[in-house]
Amino acid sequence: MSDHIQVTDLTVRYGDQTILNDINVSISHGSWTCLVGPNGAGKTTFLKSLLGMTPYSGSIEDKGKEVFKNHQRNVAFVPQNPQIPQGMSVAEYVMLGRSKKDGWGNESAKSRSFIHDVLVQTHLYGMQGNLVSHLSGGEMQRALIARALAQEPELILLDEPTSALDLHHQIAVLNNIELLKERGVTIISTMHDITLAAMYATQIVVMHQGKVLLSGLAADVIHSPELKNAFDNRISVYTLESGRPVIVASKDEVL
């Protein structure tokens, strides 16, 4: 049994359109892997393939088992655009993450106490009676993270977890996710902000037009020329005095 998610010759097609083209990459458990690349690179499709919902050719093996339609795994998924259920309270929404653990019956006392802690941790405590349809973008994002935390997953897949958030909440959410990593949870997220990706990720996978251009340790990837290639050389990488890399779009290099 390998402790990796092994992606081999992964290809995903919708009709005659090839979304993911022959991807080979290995993701180690217990790490945080960021998928970066321009819009349309296939990041979200890759994430959904890892979830096991999207039909693919090739193979994705998680601990030696194919992931497609595998209901045995405990994988949390945080979508970029969630379907917001009308009339459901925050407590009910977050508790959905525990339902399978509670055998789809009434929630156990243990789960209710767990959800309490999760709500406190995600700064949603006190709002548990509010309707999810009335939450702000940032609160909704935290509710999604809370539901994922409630699952106590082995693997958490996040699609642009920070895109709806202001700077302060971006850091708050990412710190929450980092806590999970410290507990041994494997994290795979797409992230359009490469500077943030470099701050948090162990491993970065650079995608471009359905292919993986480069994957490796975050520090190595950030300073490699392939990263610039993926963005058609329209980004610049600077290093702060602290050693932290900052990646910005280059204004003067427009074609």
């Binding site: 998924f77 259920p85 407590a91 993450g97 789809w104």
Partner: protein, 340 residues
């Protein structure tokens, strides 16, 4: 020991379900005691539970052979329609979905018309069988036409509407050609519980019990269908299998209800929203409460149907809409106020 401060409140409160059950019991006893012959409430209670001092002779016949089967059929049909409505609303993400959405009503109507034509309008024995088959066939056709079962729920919804229109067109054509059946078909479409007898109760209770058992047991998973399929999948739900199971069971309950009592409108839409509005709980774990409330609502409506213009009977569909619509609007208005 977990203290209150370190835990959140129970999401579902059993007291709400118990209250609904209590209301249903009172309404049922009330419905058995009222009619052209009014029987004392206490006497009815004693007869139902076979306590000393129970009714004898004519009163006993009225209670046990006429009113009780009718009330129980009302309970079954009300529970079936309300639960199916709630389930369809969740599965199709559509608050206006009702149990007749996928062509069950039109198919059953066509079946009923065929039954009445083939027996020249004077035999009702075939009607339940034909309408049941018609309803189930129409839903299966909708599924079949929409192709890959739930690849796109809206496609199923649209094909249900198309199949329904098609069945209604044939039904209308047949009625024009056989005008003798117009009146019986029309009265059947408005729905009634006059056909209630222990034998009708016996066969319909089997199907409705099976369907409701399935729906109640997956009720919490149905909440997952309120999310996107990817989210549902990650929570451990197989969305397509769950939808097929839920729609299948809801269709069985609806077809049975329709064949036993005709088309009783409004219960499937109003009751789920009423319960959700009053309890402020949207999730499907309130399905049992919705079923109990639907049962009480229909028994009450039937009581109105047979007593308001006594000895004449009003169609029950008229009562459900007449009482249901304003009450529904009241709840909607209140909910909007509370929600804003």
């Amino acid at each position: 020991m977990i203290t209150q401060e370190k835990s959140i409140a129970r999401i579902w409160n059993w007291r709400i379900t118990a209250s609904a059950a209590f209301v249903l019991l009172i309404v049922a006893i009330f419905a058995v005691s009222l009619g052209p012959i009014n029987i004392d409430f206490i006497e009815v209670f004693k007869t139902l539970f076979h306590l000393p001092g129970h009714a004898t002779g004519q009163n006993q016949t009225v209670i046990l052979q006429l009113r009780l089967p009718r009330v129980i059929l009302g309970v079954l049909v009300g529970a079936a329609l309300a639960t199916s409505g709630a389930v369809y609303q969740t599965v199709f993400h559509n608050p206006l979905a009702d149990p007749y959405l996928l062509g069950a009503a039109s198919g059953a109507g066509l079946g009923a018309t065929l039954a009445l034509i083939s027996t020249h309008g004077n035999s009702y024995a075939l009607l339940p069988i034909f309408s049941f088959i018609g309803g189930v066939l129409a839903v299966l056709t909708s599924f079949f036409i929409s192709g890959k079962f739930f690849a796109e729920p809206n496609t199923l919804l649209l094909s249900g509407i198309a199949v329904g229109s098609f069945a209604t067109a044939i039904q209308t054509y047949l009625q024009q050609r056989h005008s003798a059946v117009l009146r019986p078909v029309y009265s059947w479409i408005l729905g009634d519980l006059t056909s209630a007898s222990w034998s009708v109760v016996a066969w319909s209770s089997v199907y409705i019990a099976i369907a409701l058992f399935i729906l109640f047991s997956v009720s919490k998973q149905l909440d997952g269908l309120m999310l996107s399929d990817e989210e549902a999948f990650s929570l451990g739900i197989n969305p397509n299998r769950l939808r097929i199971m839920a729609v299948g069971a809801a269709t069985l309950a609806t077809a049975t209800a329709v064949s036993a009592s005709g088309l009783i409108g409004f219960v499937g839409i109003v009751v789920p929203h009423l319960v959700r509005g009053i309890t402020r709980r949207v999730t499907n774990r309130s399905l049992i409460t919705i079923a109990l409330t639907g049962a009480a609502f229909l028994v009450l409506a039937d009581l109105g149907a047979r007593t308001l213009l006594s000895p004449a009977e009003l169609p029950i569909g008229v009562i459900t809409a007449f009482v249901g619509a304003p009450f529904f609007l009241f709840v909607l208005r209140n909910r909007r106020k509370a929600g804003s």
